[in-house]
């Protein structure tokens, strides 16, 4: 099995120490986390982790099962890049005179859809969002023009084929679903219940 980028999406309780408990699952297996983002989710009070790793499907699947064992994790999903809409954000600080005096810089910024966040006499901060490759390309280009500071955020991703977590959360909040309910609800979607 080939290694490729996977986006892992976790829905968790927002409790202290969650990042630690999640990250040790990776570090224990000597797996590098390419990027990790935590944020609120669509469901109130539920936290959303977005983690990117470069691994085989089998490894990612097993990791997700281990993560789901954590008491405060509600659900773990993993997706290939084709299955998610994803963005990363970047901030660039460049000397303002470079922007005003050098035409190629302006062209570059237009080309990558970067927009100014702050303009000062001495420097200007631009912001752009996109895929890693686009951001990297702009960074590389700007490096020739006295790029003072650069920072890129973790990936955030929306799963194309997801109906969000509202319904799922309701299911989780049911203490003991009655057996008839269970049968009707789960029996018809064989693979979705067992697989993650």
């Amino acid at each position: 099995m080939e290694k490729q980028e996977y986006t892992i999406t976790l829905y968790t309780e927002n409790s202290i120490g969650m990042i630690g408990r999640i990250s040790i699952i990776f570090s224990r297996r000597k797996i590098n986390i390419e990027s990790l983002n935590t944020s609120p989710s669509e469901a109130e009070g539920i936290h959303r982790f977005t983690i990117v790793i470069n691994e085989t499907e089998e490894v990612v699947r097993k990791l997700c099962r281990q993560i789901e064992k954590q008491v405060e994790v509600l659900k773990a999903y993993y997706n290939t890049n084709d299955e998610v809409i994803w963005q990363e954000q970047a901030l660039y600080k460049v000397p303002t005179d470079v922007v005003t005096e050098k035409a190629p810089v302006e062209r570059l910024l237009r080309q990558y859809g970067a927009s100014a966040v702050v303009i000062r006499n001495d420097y200007t901060v631009f912001e752009t969002a996109g895929h890693r490759e686009e951001i990297d390309a702009l960074t590389e280009a700007l490096a020739e023009y006295n790029l003072i500071e650069f920072v890129r955020s973790a990936r955030i991703a929306i799963i194309k084929d997801s109906e969000g977590f509202h319904k799922k959360l309701k299911e989780f909040e049911e203490a003991e679903p009655a057996s008839e309910v269970v049968e009707n609800k789960y029996l018809n979607k064989q693979d979705k219940v067992f697989t993650m």
């Binding site: 309780e13 409790s15 120490g17 630690g20 281990q66 989780f172 203490a175 049968e183 064989q190 067992f194």
Partner: protein
Amino acid sequence: MNTLEITKDNSQSDSNRNVETIQLSGSQAVLEALLAEGVDTIFGYPGGAIMPIYDALYDYSEKLKHILVRHEQGGIHAAQGYARTSGRVGVVFATSGPGATNLVTGLADAMIDSNPVVCITGQVFAHLLGTDAFQETDVINITAPVTKWNYQVTDACEIPTALAKAFHVARTGRPGPVLIDITKNAQIQLFDYAGYQVCNHIRSYRPKPIVRREYVQQAAELINAAQKPFILFGQGVILGKAENEFKAFIEKAGIPAAATVMGLSALETDHPLHVGMLGMHGNYAPNVLTNDCDVLIAIGMRFDDRVTGRLDKYAKQAKVVHLDIDPAEIDKNVKATVPVWGDCKETLPLLTELVTQREHKEWLTRFRELEQEEIKEVIHNELNPTTDIMTMGEVIKTVNELTGGDAVIVTDVGQHQMVACRYAKFNQSKSNVTSGGLGTMGFGLPAAIGAWYGAPDRTVVAVIGDGGIQMTIQEFGTIMQFGAKVKILVLNNEFLGMVRQWQQLFHDKRYSFVNITSPDFVTVAKGYGIPGRSINDRTNLKQALQEMIDYDGSYFLEVMVGKENNVFPMVPQGSSVSEIRLK
């Protein structure tokens, strides 16, 4: 109170609104929680940061028995032993800093062997957290990888909910250890206590999978079509309290069944379908025939590497049915053809209903034939040695004769452990207490103390090596003070035997630091008020063991056994189970 982090999952706070409250300290709330959870025994050791809880315990000493161990590691191993023989949650108290870090080995052991244990540790005052205060350590982060769940309490109001959650998490699903770290201010703090509510639901935690009947159906079809089906059973059967359901299943389906080390005693050793133990030092037939069966049915076991040997040569010919409550175990090491995810207490009866009543006589005969071979090559000599030198096997055989298989056998780790697991006879469940996954030397003596408190009416025999006993020998003091009637049986070969065996077989007999000297154990035991003797002559064996078992109290018996005896059969590391060596 709703601003507290922990309350979000639990109904405790909501339903409390109209209830009358009383003023209680955090420490009292801890003890009230233990009483409400039906706890009767605590294994612990006091210290600065847990003093308020110990102060409160002073007033609860009639309702809660506290066993003062001699080291926190002993405390948690005792709690594990207690959990294993009683089927209930073991409880440990320890102080902050070194008290808490001394629990780590036991937590790791309980985690890998799925023992329900709740540890309560003291912590420095909340305002001192992170200041490198006296006896402060980051217990939550240190123990995160070795606990099923842990939580730090900094406000007394959280205590009832935190403990309710702790007990729920520890005992449900695949059980495991939980640690609650309570800062000293929270222990002292008075708050409005509205009674204790047992937790039975946490929204982010689904311990009981919904059984998927179509998978049970598929499993039954595979089993019914099988000519050479073979069952592997693990501790899941015991943890699920499904011994009867398991027996009903194998008896109807007529399938030979072999135990993992942790699964031993779930089925009585003498059962006609019990074909022995799996694994590196397991029996010949179940190892060899793993690679010959057509359907492998794994029940509450996790295909540990000591069971599977070389994985790419493990049961490749077989379709695999895997029953487990933990979805992470399914497909982890061995790919399941049919996963039956669920509590085996539920899934086994469903499966029993669907399987055809059968007898696999010829197939079972294959096991018995290979067993004869093992008896001839290994077992007979081990149990009936012809030289003057005693073997570990004959000691265990004699214990079987004297106890009839009714004893709880606790072991430490090493050669004696494998020999005890191979030859001990078990008539009833929860009779085998050993450190399976972690292989913790030093586990045996404290675990035996806990095992006795968990089953005080039973004979508890702790079989320990001369190495392992020296790791936790201080727990003699616990026995001396509180009177656990543990029978301590040290099998002394004057070596760290298992490592020596490997050095002999795989390292050209370069015996590197396996030659361990021992004190005069009998005198040491005597110093702790434990009577005992040491024997090196076979003619005394039976009588000495009888004396040990009959003694009304703890007793120490050392048996000098062959120095360079090896445990066979053996699946060498990196070999397939079918390449098991008889010598």
